[in-house]
């Protein structure tokens, strides 16, 4: 699988992760995404932090400074109401895409 993460899919991944984990800092998010993707998606900082800023600019998440488990100052990101709505919409459209793609790819497998 390509390590290039499509912008739209990364956005949805981050939003979903925040939804399931609650407020989280960038490092925690990267770690979690790496875990869930079973080691495939090792996000580079140059991808992760701009993405977080982008989501914040869209008012899908908001950030505040807090203290991490090991007592360090860290920026925590959390979902906004708008972000939650976006997850619902994006999930739906993503599922549609997957099901359509599935049909095409299944037919191709059948032909072979």
């Amino acid at each position: 699988m390509s390590k290039e993460v499509l912008q739209g899919t990364l956005d949805l991944m981050v939003l979903r992760t925040l939804e399931s984990m609650g407020p989280q800092h960038g490092f925690g998010l990267a770690k979690r995404i790496l875990q869930v993707s079973e080691g495939v998606l090792d996000l580079n900082q140059g991808t992760l932090y701009p993405a977080l800023l982008r989501l914040e600019q869209r008012r899908w998440i908001k950030s505040r400074w807090g203290v991490s488990d090991n007592n360090r100052k860290a920026k925590f990101y959390e979902l906004t109401a708008r972000g939650r709505r976006t997850i619902a919409e994006e999930t739906e459209s993503w599922e549609l895409t997957v099901s359509i793609m599935g049909k095409f790819l299944a037919r191709r497998t059948g032909e072979q």
């Binding site: 800092h25 900082q45 932090y49 914040e56 090991n70 920026k75």
Partner: protein, 313 residues
């Protein structure tokens, strides 16, 4: 977009925040490696390797929080201003040159636009041409001559070139019988002019075909109704009928019309044709016009004249 713009304002803080975040990220990586069993020094090295493209990360972050083109533009503007401040003499020369250039251009365009560029406010204005005549013998001194009414009639009768032809000549009128007498600068035109131009009077009626004939007064009220109406059309005054001093009108009436048929809002003061643009277009009709001219010479409708006119080329 709005989010990006506000970020533009607070970008210094954003850059600082990113540094803190990256530092935190780094420390977390280090502790992760340490708890994985690496020696502290090795853990930091490993973390540093993981955090590889930090500059790249900062760049990407900045691209996201700015409006890139706007920022580059702003940098350019500031650079230009600094450079100008360093050499004030050059700056002054440049500014004066620009000011003169812009001023001259504006002035010329202000004149050229209404004269040459602005389309005529008429239906299918590109079809309208102005015709005038000249005599070969006097062409150097009088490049363009008015046309007598009788010649215009001949032109119009033998016309196979134009959809319609109309005559117009500048004329002055005295407006009396209103609170304040006024000198009006207008034009005497043939009845079909408004139809030709495709315009409708804002108020009242336009001319009747019968009114084209000299001395004919279809309404029987001995008033030059057409002129009257024309004045009412253009007059901003609310007063209903206006009386035009008859002596003045008679003086005008004994002249016939010139041919130039299109003009701007007012009649050409010199009786000559309109702008060159349209005369140029008319050149394409040169052959046909020459034909009209020949017919005119042969038929010579202007009787009693020894000197002939040579309309067209």
């Amino acid at each position: 977009m709005w989010g990006r713009l506000t970020d533009l304002v607070r970008r210094r803080r954003l850059d600082r925040d990113l540094e803190v975040e990256l530092a935190y990220h780094f420390e977390e990586l280090v502790s992760q490696y340490e708890s994985g069993g690496l020696a502290p020094g090795d853990a930091r090295r490993a973390a540093r390797r993981d955090m590889g493209g930090l500059t790249q990360a900062r760049e990407a972050y900045r691209d996201q929080h700015g409006v890139p083109a706007l920022e580059t533009l702003w940098q350019d503007v500031r650079y230009a201003l600094r450079a100008l401040r360093r050499s004030p003499a050059f700056a002054a020369v440049a500014i004066v040159t620009l000011a003169l250039g812009i001023g001259a251009n504006t002035a010329i365009f202000t004149v050229a636009y209404p004269l040459f560029l602005r389309p005529l406010p008429y239906h299918e204005a590109q079809e309208i041409v102005a015709l005038s005549t000249y005599m070969p013998q006097t062409r150097a001194r009088f490049p363009s001559l008015p046309v007598r009414a009788i010649d215009f009639d001949a032109f119009r009768r033998s016309n196979r070139v134009f959809a319609a032809m109309s005559a117009i000549t500048p004329a002055d009128f005295n407006l009396t019988g209103v609170s304040e007498p006024e000198r009006l600068y207008g034009a005497r035109v043939s009845a079909n002019l408004f139809t030709l131009l495709g315009v409708q009077p804002a108020e009242g009626r336009s001319f009747l075909a019968e009114e084209d004939v000299q001395g004919r007064d279809p309404r029987g009220d001995h008033q030059p109704r057409a002129v009257d109406e024309a004045i009412r059309l253009r007059s901003v005054r609310p007063e209903p009928p206006v009386v035009v001093e008859r002596a003045e009108l008679r003086r005008c009436g004994n002249h016939a019309s010139g041919i130039p048929l299109s003009n701007r809002h007012a009649a050409p003061r010199d009786g000559s044709a309109g702008p060159a643009r349209r005369r140029l277009e008319a050149d394409g009709l040169h052959a046909q016009r020459a034909d009209v001219g020949r017919q005119l010479e042969l038929g010579c409708p202007s009787t009693g004249r020894t000197r002939r006119r040579h309309p067209g080329r």
